[in-house]
């Protein structure tokens, strides 16, 4: 038994947002519920079910992939999406368990991004436009959302839009846990665009347990224009691991996490290069 007073199925986004604004922190949006239902300790007044607001499908078209925030994460692994948005499958396949993925949603995963959210890390790498409803309604690039303090108040994520995969582009996702099924000790995501054997664009993000994801602009910038070589990957990975503060807990020490960040970034980068069709030169 969990201590909730009221369960309200919102009939419209306005109803959901209005209720949240009226009650404040005592009300929580509920889509899948997998991030907080198991762990809730203090009583919550109202759960606002947002799973029936029509945000539950993925639309591919016009060079974009528009993901409804309450789509089931299991559905993001559909074979039809692997061509247009290969990162989705990579990030979802080791997110919790199949049982959780049948309920969990990308909106919920983003809202609880400090776990860390594998999808947040992945979307920071691919780039994504986040559509937020509420008092501070906005459409914002995910890295700007991070800079602005992420989500707060009555923010209700409705849609996440990725650019469809283009020529010479590739993605990589590397997650390290103590077993195959685990919260990431460290995760890394990379998006790479190559032209003429050189880096046209690189985006990197890193996640660690109990931390917000980090978007590594500085490290990624260093790669621009460079030839894709083993040395480049190693250099970028080193810069990445220097630019993130590693967390220290009973699951792993700071020193080990720092090392893992370097390894996971290099693996995600290498995977992206492979997918982009570029061999990594010695």
């Amino acid at each position: 038994m969990k201590e909730f007073r009221q369960f309200v199925v919102a009939g419209s986004p306005e109803e959901a947002i209005g209720l949240k604004r009226a009650i404040g922190p005592g009300a929580l949006y509920l889509a899948g519920g997998t991030s907080f239902v198991p762990f809730i300790k203090t009583p919550v007044d109202v759960l606002i079910d947002i799973s029936k607001l029509g945000f539950s499908s993925v639309v591919v078209g016009g060079g974009k992939v528009a993901i409804g925030a309450t789509t089931r994460i299991a559905d993001l692994m559909a074979p039809e999406l692997r061509e247009a948005a290969p990162m989705l499958y990579k990030a979802a396949r080791r997110l919790a368990t199949p049982l959780v993925r049948n309920m969990a949603t990308p909106g919920g995963n983003l809202a609880y991004a400090f776990l860390p959210s594998d999808l947040a890390v992945a979307f920071l790498a691919t780039g994504a436009e986040i559509e937020v409803l509420g008092e501070r309604a906005r459409r914002v690039a995910i890295e700007d959302l991070l800079k602005d303090g992420w989500l707060a108040g009555d923010d209700l994520v409705s849609k996440i839009t990725l650019a469809g995969r283009g020529a010479g582009q590739g993605t990589g996702f590397a997650k390290f846990g103590k077993g195959e099924v685990d919260i990431a000790l460290v995760s890394a995501a990379a998006w790479l665009e190559v032209s003429d054997g050189g880096v046209a664009g690189l985006r990197l993000a890193v996640g660690q347990t109990s931390s917000m994801p980090a978007f590594l602009e500085e490290a990624a910038d260093k790669a621009r224009g460079e030839k894709v070589t083993r040395g480049l990957v190693e250099t970028i990975a080193s810069v990445a691991s220097e630019s993130v503060e590693p967390t220290n807990d009973h699951r792993a020490s700071a020193g080990y996490r720092k090392h893992l960040i370097k390894i996971m970034v290099s693996r995600a980068f290498a995977e992206a290069a492979g997918e982009a069709g570029t061999a990594i030169a010695d």
């Binding site: 509920l30 079910d49 199949p98 049982l99 195959e180």
Partner: protein, 144 residues
């Protein structure tokens, strides 16, 4: 039916007499509470009963057709898979759902599908063997 807002799906199901649904961890990490919600396996201990409103829930009690067992149940018996049996209801339902979507899974695909159902007794070998056998039966040509 009415349920208090905070009651989880597993609590409601057990209260209604569906004792095959197990709560082993209350945090969605062991899979003992697995039920099928519209044919998808979900962890009923981390779902509020209210979230199931409008969906069809299947527990293990609902799988057999009277005396006639589902091929997954038959296969579990033939391989002598269950040891303590606590993971079995969840495991069987997850397997049933897998075979509906993928009638010819590889051993690796089976392992992927049951990754959320933890078994402490068996080491998973006889579970995978049973799902392979069930798939053969369902494709209409089981030879053991």
């Amino acid at each position: 039916m009415d349920a208090p807002a905070g009651e989880t799906l597993v609590e409601v199901l057990r209260r209604l007499g569906f004792k095959s649904v197990k709560d082993g961890c209350y945090t969605g990490t062991c899979g003992g509470c697995t039920v099928l919600m519209d044919d998808r396996p979900v962890a009923s201990c981390i779902m509020l009963a209210a979230q199931a409103d409008g969906s069809r829930i299947t527990t293990l009690e609902g799988l057999a057709d009277g005396d006639k067992l589902h091929p997954v149940q038959e296969a579990f018996l033939e391989i002598n898979t269950p040891q303590c049996g606590f993971c079995s209801p969840g495991m069987i339902l997850t397997a049933v759902s897998l075979l509906r979507r993928n009638p010819n899974p590889t051993r690796e695909e089976i392992r992927e599908a049951i990754a959320g159902n933890t078994c402490r007794c068996s080491g998973y070998v006889k579970i995978v063997d049973a799902v392979v056998l069930a798939a053969e039966k369902m494709r209409g040509g089981a030879r053991r």
